[in-house]
Amino acid sequence: MQFDENAPVLEIKDLNLSYWTRAGEIPAVIDFSLTIDKGESIGLVGESGCGKSTVAMAIMQYMGGNGTIKSGSIKFKGVELNTLAPDELRRLRGAEISMIYQEPFAALNPSLTLGTQLKEVPIIHEGITDREAHDRAVKVLGDVRLPDPERVMAAYPHQISGGQQQRVVIAMGLLSNPSLLLLDEPTTALDVTVEAGITKLIADIAKQYGTSQVYISHNLGLILEVCDRVFVMYSGEVVEEGTIKSLFTWPKHPYTHGLFGCIPLPTADKNAAPLKPIRGQLPLPHERPTGCNFGPRCDFFADGRCNSRDIAMTQVTGSAADHRVRCERWTELDFAAEISHDEQKPPISIGDTVLEVDGMQKYYEVHDRSIAAIIAGQSVKLVKANEALDFDAREGETVAIVGESGCGKSTFAKVLMGLETATDGEVRYGGTNIGEVPVRERTPKQIGSLQMVFQNPSDTLNPSHTIGGQIGRVIKKFGVESDKVKIRERVLELLDLVKLPRDFYIRRPRQLSGGQKQRVGIARAFAGNPAMVIADEPVSALDVSVAAAVTELLTDIQREHKTTLLFISHDLSVVRYLADRIVVMYLGQIMERGTTDEIFDPPYHPYTEALLSAVPIADPEVTKREIVLEGNLPSVMNPPKGCPFTTRCQHKIGIICDEERPAVQMASNGHAIACHIPLDELRQAEPVIAVPKAEERVHVTQ
């Protein structure tokens, strides 16, 4: 196995990949070509089912029992990978080509110490001694910026946090100095601020180690921050490729352009410039049309030209770097001219206050039954999930609750829904304090007027019952209708409302896609004519274009019914797009609250500042101030006595932050910040996200 160090690190030509299933052969990737030089970072972007993970698996020659490389070549440093024996492939994997997966906890063996797992890599591939392997591992752990590497070496995976686990996995990938690193959505399972740290790390590593990278993601913002070149895939084919600058500023393919229209960029506005979801559905692999796969969904489809024969990649003339597109009509398309302003929607009129949260507190008791704890008198510990929550919501308004895992937003949703009761404080809804009324004791009318849309579309519906049955049950339970025929009518009306075909009535959830299931979840929530709907990260598990469609659906329904929407999310881009007012939570307490504009402009709470800086934005002309948080999330059972953010705060002023709870400062009527730093100082901060005005832009987006 002789490597040619002068050849490109990876050279893929005309690759065709297929899977063999019960239904026959399914082509997964068609006509894929890619060249990576030393030190280059390539992004592979696409939605579910486009084949990007399949390509990564094929590079590793690990396609599973039923996957085959039908044709084409994959050359790693000049060596054709198809020709290698399993033995040689084994030596290649982990040493020359490493792969990093999505779930860090699943990638680490829970019963071995991290040191054992890390040392395994160089010991097996290079045969060095244990001592040398240990030293090298400690060095790489330092490179991935893990504090206290020696302690991490001795720890087990469950003893460190998710972000740290992913850093360890990255370290494992780097230990034998691979030439190529494959990363398959490495940050999807992580919190936003943690994700920002890992993303920066990955970008730096490429430079430091000279490793080439293939970064697979569905998030265009992340690709912008990490990669040099990007490939956009749709339904098994690459539809466009180019440098970051070229592709992001001048997308040539209608699908790429459509993707950008689905992302809530800073310039989007839910009333003036709403998201433009891509119409239609992804074609099933065995139902791909002749010619362009994107044809049926394309606004610029030309019958006869676009569906007559397979379309090859053509070079974009006038672009300095390698920008190629797979489109018949790209020379004729002018997206700027296509912008029409009749998609503007009327703003929702805000009414009176419907929800008042007044000093709400929710503590959980954790009983430590060990003898030692009982003797010490500390057998009952309190988890302070929510502390002193204060805000209100008005009719027709969208209030977003923003925070990362462990901030208490789910607990708050549970108290509102009646699955838990508040330990102190009041939650006034429709006049009554529902904070102390569990759902069992609420009237059907109360229950029906406050409903929830859940996060995970695959779990939100009962797989054993029909769609119609499930929605009908809700209607019957809330007493909206009682006659069978009327219930059925109402269910069909709801299906129309969420733009699903009426014959989904008899279907079961497993016959629906993720986006369709989420629409049914929305239909179910609105079945009882609720006055307020809590949406718990409703689109975070969906693809970009599907998420855009569901988001637009939610706003349309809200506009029509004047529903108050309580939107829980960690994605500040979507929040900026949807919310009228925002509440930022950290470790159970409110750090800042105000209108969307007030939150996104200075004065900032330090945590808000870090959150804003962590949001990946897919607009190359938007500049962000970089703020990376160090330190760890404190344990909920042992929160800091003073400000909860003190362990990670980049503007910590001193002991007062550790000792004293900050007082709430009012920057303006309705804009509250809980911080010790005086307001005047906070007002002097520079904005975190700078959006250039339309005139200053190279390329007009909306």
């Binding site: 829904m417 009646g418 699955l419 759902v439 069992r440 609420r442 059907p444 229950i447 409903q451 929830m452 859940f454 996060q455 995970n456 779990d459 939100t460 519906l461 009962n462 797989p463 054993s464 019952h465 029909t466 119609g468 049955g469 499930q470 009908g472 049950r473 809700v474 019957k476 339970k477 809330f478 069978k484 219930i487 059925r488 009426r502 014959d503 009535y505 008899i506 179910r524």
Partner: protein, 303 residues
Amino acid sequence: MAEATATPSMPAPTFGAALMRAIRSFALLRESWVGMIGAGLVFFWIAVALLAPLLAPFDPNATLMPFQKPGALFPGNETVAAGTFWLGTDQLGRDILSRIIWGSQTVLIYAPLATLSAYTVGILMGLAAGYYRGWMDDLLSRVADIILSFPVLVLYIIIIATIGASGVVIIVAITFASAPGIMRIVRGLVLDLRNRDYVAAAQTRGESAWRIMLVEILPNARGPLIVDACLRLGYVIITIGVLGFLGLGLPPPNPDWGGMINFSRSMALAFPHMVLYSCVAISSLILGFNLLADGLREVSLRD
């Protein structure tokens, strides 16, 4: 649009639709040859049980000619027609083939009944323990632990010898001994399923706890339970056989495979045919259920 056929107002499916789906899912079994063999054996014995009056050459309790070897001829007498003792006769002169054929009815009635009864109790206990948690879970789990800690045979002997052997008592005894094991399986499944969003959605609708358990959670646990049911049927058949062998089975003269083996035990060395064929019958039926369970598990995993 098929609006006439579907009358969906309740989330639970109609029985007819469920039956159709069950039949269609059996068709999937074609994929697993192991499952096919198992299904073949099971259906063979079901057919034998159904057609017993037609298949059995003699009355299973008629004492005709003792100690006949397999293949011996029966010349016939005033009341009984002539025929062949294909599998020989036992020491009382009863035709073994007929007893095996009629015995299949006994097994295939009592075993499913006992399993069903055990499942009903086990599912109710498991649902309550897994959903409510807290003291109810502790109580039920400890009760289950206590019952499971008894050696099974000792348990049966205690129950049946005390109350007396009869069909109902056997079913009760088997239920008592099997329910805790089923409860543990169901409890494990419920502990996982109760965290799903659709259960939370039902709770936030204000549904009653038992409705959530039976309508929302239980239908989604049916996969592993069906596989377990097949396996457990096998165990129950062994149990009925063992009880028969110990003399605790159905009182004579009901032909009961285990009882047949017990009855002719002392003759086994001289006349092996008296016990051999009953053993083969029991083994083949249990093997059938085990292979069927394996096949179902294989097919369900593949989806």
